[in-house]
């Protein structure tokens, strides 16, 4: 589904050129549960932004379903962000003073297809937040906020869920809960791409890619998968 070929990325600020990604080659298949790991500044977030159509590459090729993404115009990129992917951020990024329902509905506002607002309730149900449907975003706990963010990422039924340090701002119990939801989404067929610097978070994924100084230093199957759903079940 995803193929990166010799991808370079550099940021130019005035006369200073910062090389962020260096000759990245990567293939990701549909249905994978993947963790991109690395210390801060390693380029893992930039890689996720590129994969998620939020950022462009400096050179090389990015093929999504065999289409060359670097050829996409702004509107096509926006439409891919809208339909193909969903984002979950470390800091939740919910609309302030806005209800759970309206937050989850947000991507549908920008959908060019016919939308069904019943999908909003379905997405809220899938993260077990029906009882918070009309709460305002600032009335929720951190874990609940992140579940709203996941519901928002799901509402357009995307193929890939990107999660950038999804547990970074949560206590461990809520973190496990979030990982269990991501795990179940993966079991339902969604590709989940996780970006984290914590082993504790990465250990639930099936494949771990390590990045350092903009280069992939390892790409291995996770032999010691911990099942987040079982762990979450045990905690209850």
């Amino acid at each position: 589904m995803i193929e990166l070929k010799d991808v370079y990325k550099e940021f130019v600020s005035g006369e200073v050129v910062t090389k962020v990604l260096h000759k990245i080659n990567l293939k990701i298949k549909r249905g994978e549960f993947l963790a991109i790991m690395g210390p801060s500044g390693s380029g893992k977030s930039t890689l996720m932004h590129i994969l998620g159509f939020l950022d462009n590459i400096s050179s090389g090729h990015y093929y999504f379903d065999n289409k060359d993404v670097s050829q996409f115009d702004d509107d096509t990129l926006a439409s891919y962000r809208n339909k193909k992917v969903g984002f979950v951020f470390q800091s939740f990024n919910l609309l302030p003073k806005t209800s759970v329902w309206e937050n989850v509905r947000l991507p549908l506002l920008y959908s060019r297809d016919k939308v069904n607002f019943k999908d909003v309730d379905k997405a809220i149900k899938s993260v077990d937040l029906e009882h918070r449907r009309d709460y305002l975003s600032n009335q929720l706990s951190g874990g609940e906020k992140q579940r709203v963010a996941i519901a928002r990422a799901l509402v357009n039924n995307p193929e890939i869920i990107f999660a950038d340090e999804p547990t970074g701002n949560l206590d461990s119990k809520s973190g496990i809960q979030i990982m269990a939801i991501l795990d179940s989404l993966n079991k339902m067929g969604k590709t989940v791409i996780l970006v984290t610097h914590e082993n504790a978070t990465a250990r639930y994924s099936h494949r771990i890619i390590k990045i350092k100084d903009g280069q992939i230093i390892s790409d291995e199957v996770n032999k010691d998968i911990i099942d987040a759903q079982t762990l979450n079940g045990n905690l209850k």
Partner: protein, 413 residues
């Protein structure tokens, strides 16, 4: 999306979250719009007032003034200089020779100190021909009668007094037949005029009418006229009549070249046209000045929208991350600007109309015959200008928002 009401409710929510700020932002527009309406309404009211004064004398009138009026300036009589070239026989000639003229009268005016028994009053006397009643629309005798040709010929000392003079000097006494002194001459009152009020910027009720020959020879010792007026028959072409009158006067004054004219003839119609042009120009000029305040209001709106864009940077990033296109973002902020300006505009229109109404009430209370007029053009001008301001000043912040890089926006703290 544009038809989705909840989309607008989101924008309203943003504006409601900053109630004071939204109100202050709109205030510029409110003040701008209402001043455009107040000024244009006031202008229309004043214009109407002036027209009524002119129309009170009659629109089917010719004014004949002594002295030339060419491009170099108005007739000398207007400037208070006495020119002695226009005489009563000129007016009689015009009256008898121009078939389209129904009646004409010369005018002379003087200061009058009126005495009756032990009462005294300052006023003015007006020497006119017996045809006066047929010349001026609305001039009527309430009781008694107006003086005749015979009175004029015989220099009769008879007077017709204005209604205000009658009540002030005589109170409940019937003035008809009473003798009053005007300056040093004794006159018999033969009539009282009907109340007429302010017409031609002169209180018509506060004067005494006497035969023109009496006024000229006995009261003033002159043989010329201050000015004259002639009434044109309905349907006659005023310009043609003006030309005929000019030809007769030139002939009588032995003038060959129109450049040497020692008189000027104007129709009230021409006068009204000029007046309309001047007052319209003035109205639009004042409206344009008021519109400048709208421009200032627009700058205020742009300022706040820029603040709003920068405050919602993270939100813009998020919206882009979930699929908003540039035009979705710019539309979002443009609609926000439009709502702000539209709210200001609506409040401005209503407060402008309300204040204009107050002005008309106050003007009426002060005794002016002021009509409450809201010219449609003022509303159209104000509304279209506001829309223009909103689009012009909302555009830049909206573009700024649309061009934000989603990643920079998401990282923004």
């Amino acid at each position: 999306m544009l038809l989705d009401l909840s989309y607008y409710s989101q924008i309203f929510k943003t504006l409601k979250a900053h109630k004071m700020r939204s109100f202050l932002t709109s205030l510029g527009i409110i003040i701008g719009i209402s001043s455009v309406i107040i000024i244009m309404s006031g202008g229309a009211g004043a214009q109407n007032l002036v027209f009524k004064q002119v129309e009170g004398i009659g629109v089917d009138l010719l004014g004949i003034l002594p002295g030339a009026s060419d491009d170099s300036g108005p007739p000398a009589a207007v400037m208070g200089i006495n020119i002695t070239t226009l005489v009563n026989d000129d007016i009689r000639a015009i009256e008898s020779q121009v078939p389209e003229i129904i009646a004409a009268t010369g005018y002379v005016r003087g200061v009058a100190i009126l005495n009756w028994q032990n009462k005294s009053r300052d006023s003015s006397f007006l020497g006119v021909s017996p045809n006066y009643l047929r010349v001026e629309t609305g001039a009527e005798v309430a009781s008694g009668y107006f003086f005749s040709e015979e009175d004029d010929r015989s220099l009769a000392r008879v007077a017709v007094i204005g209604s205000l003079v009658a009540t002030d000097l005589f109170g409940n006494v019937n003035p008809l037949g009473e003798r009053i002194r005007i300056n040093d001459e004794t006159f018999r009152i033969i009539g009282v005029m009907k109340e007429r009020g302010m017409v031609g910027f002169q209180n018509q009720d506060d004067q005494v009418f006497i035969p023109i020959a009496t006024a000229q020879r006995i009261m003033l010792g002159i043989n010329y006229l201050s000015f004259a007026r002639a009434k044109i028959a309905p349907g006659a072409d005023a310009d043609v009549v003006v030309a005929e009158v000019e030809a007769i006067l030139r002939d009588r004054h032995n003038i060959d070249d129109p450049k040497d004219d020692d008189f000027s003839v104007r129709s009230a119609e021409q006068g009204l046209d000029v007046l309309t042009d001047i007052t319209n120009a003035l109205n639009y000029f004042l409206g344009a000045v008021a519109a400048i305040s709208l421009l200032v209001g627009g700058i205020g709106i742009m300022n706040i929208m820029l603040v709003s864009v920068s405050e919602s940077t993270r939100e813009i990033g998020l919206r882009k991350a979930v699929g908003a296109r540039r035009r979705d973002i710019s539309r979002h902020f443009l609609i926000q600007t439009l709502i702000l300006t539209a709210l200001g505009g609506i409040i401005g229109i209503f407060s402008g109309i309300f204040i204009s109404f107050l002005i008309s009430v106050i003007a009426k209370a002060l005794g002016y015959d002021w009509e409450f007029i809201i010219p449609l053009s003022s509303i159209i001008l104000a509304t279209s200008f506001t829309l223009l301001v909103a689009l012009a000043f909302g555009w830049y912040p909206a573009q700024k928002a649309a061009k934000l890089d989603p990643i920079d926006a998401l990282r923004y703290e």
